[in-house]
């Protein structure tokens, strides 16, 4: 059965094979683990397709259909757990970064990259001022804590732009707020769930946009 995992992850099994594999999954922890890892790859494949905008009314239609369904709310048990691990920032391993952008093709509407100060990585900015933070060699946030991203301006203005705890080798985090000209992005370590104002100076920050 194990050799069906790749085919199952890609939805490329025949229906009877897929059913057999699913019942095997219930009994086989290694297959469940492997499948979870392959989920990252199939998600990556999903992101590689050409952009296409859905019609505006699709959102409304989905929400209307959801509203029309009577559905009991699920049980209120906790559904996620943060990994409890040690310290925050490691020494930056030199090599790490990141041919990622270097390896990509030049594209018509350019992505800009701003270097980070205090960590290895970059802030990637699009023409619409949306941004992705890429940072390498960051330890996962300790238990009960989370990294919080801020769009900052001057010494006093800091607006929350997302949290992340799981860093992997290289964390890639989409900011929930646009980065306007003259602002920069800073990251602090805060209590789990995030806070509305940073409790200390940034651990690291980007150059100004």
């Amino acid at each position: 059965m194990h050799e069906l995992t790749a085919g199952y992850a890609l939805d490329a099994l025949e229906p009877d094979e897929a059913r057999a594999y699913e019942s095997h999954l219930g009994r086989c922890a290694p297959c469940r683990e492997e499948l979870a890892e392959l989920g990252d790859l199939t998600e990556a494949l999903a992101h590689a397709v050409p952009a296409a905008a859905p019609p505006a009314e699709l959102r409304r239609r989905i929400l209307a259909a959801a509203r029309a369904e009577s559905r009991p709310a699920g049980p209120g048990r906790p559904r996620w757990a943060l990994p409890a691990v040690g310290l925050a920032v490691t020494a930056s391993c030199t090599a790490l970064v990141l041919g990622v952008l270097a390896a990509t093709r030049p594209s018509p509407a350019r992505l800009r990259t701003l270097p980070l100060r205090g960590a290895t990585g970059a802030l990637v900015l699009s023409g619409d001022r949306s941004a992705v933070l890429i940072v390498s060699g960051l330890r996962p946030a300790p238990g009960g804590r989370t990294y919080e991203i801020w769009v900052m301006k001057g010494a006093t203005s800091a607006r929350r732009a997302g949290i992340f705890s799981d860093t992997g080798k290289t964390a890639r985090v989409r900011l929930s707020r646009r980065v306007e000209t003259g602002s920069f992005v800073g990251v602090t370590l805060e209590r789990a769930g995030g806070v509305t104002h940073p409790t200390g100076a940034p651990l690291f920050r980007s150059a100004p946009a």
Binding site: A12, L41, E69, R71, G99, D128
Partner: protein, 205 residues
């Protein structure tokens, strides 16, 4: 919150969802918070639609697959287990599975999913978010580094909706070969998505 303004049905308490993780948003969907479903759509609706359209090559069917997947999330959010993977992977898996089901049912396999791309090109690259652009370019670069036969099997399976047996027949290779090429393609893709230390350091463009 946009959903409340648009729908005029204030069934949920407005709250700021933007700073929540995807998993936390799904947990709110599990409590039947419609605004959370809207937030999930705002984060992944375009990716879901683009994926669905890539597989189905028909806008109406692509919309159907996306709607079905989001409604599945709505119904089954309480069964989502974060230890089995990210919420975004779960959602996009549901979208892909639904699209593949439809493409097989409609027998809409194109003659060759690697060509025949008219009308499916980039649609609004200028306003595309940094995140989508960055991910797309990163993964496309990793795909481009795969050996041709592995890339072919991976792309025909995932974007074309072909099963392993169909691929064996179509490509004239034994099923066992297809399986091992698929496995090898995923392994190499994983390596290819890791940062490439040998390449140029960061340059500000």
């Amino acid at each position: 919150m946009r959903v409340l303004r648009r729908s005029g049905h204030p069934v949920t308490t407005p709250r700021d969802l933007a700073h929540l993780s995807d998993e936390a948003v799904v947990a709110l969907v599990a409590r039947a918070e419609e605004g959370a479903l809207g937030e999930l759509y705002d984060r992944y609706g375009s990716t879901a639609f683009a994926l669905s359209l890539r597989v189905l090559r028909d806008r109406g069917l692509a919309e159907d697959a996306v709607q079905d997947a989001f409604l599945t999330v709505w119904r089954r959010a309480s069964t989502f287990l974060p230890e089995r993977g990210r919420a975004s992977s779960w959602l996009l898996t549901l979208v892909h599975r639904r699209a593949v089901d439809l493409v097989r049912r409609e027998e809409r396999h194109p003659a060759d999913p690697l060509e025949n791309d008219e009308g499916l090109g980039e649609e609004r690259s200028a306003e595309d978010s940094a995140w989508l652009r960055f991910e797309r370019e990163r993964v496309q670069a990793a795909l481009a580094r795969l050996p041709d036969q592995q890339r072919e099997v991976l792309e025909l399976a995932y974007y074309g909706g072909f099963t392993q047996s169909q691929l064996a027949e179509r490509l004239g290779r034994p099923v066992g070969t297809i399986k091992s090429q698929m496995f090898a393609a995923l392994s190499r893709l994983r390596e290819g998505l890791e940062p490439q230390p040998s390449e140029e350091p960061w340059r500000t463009r």
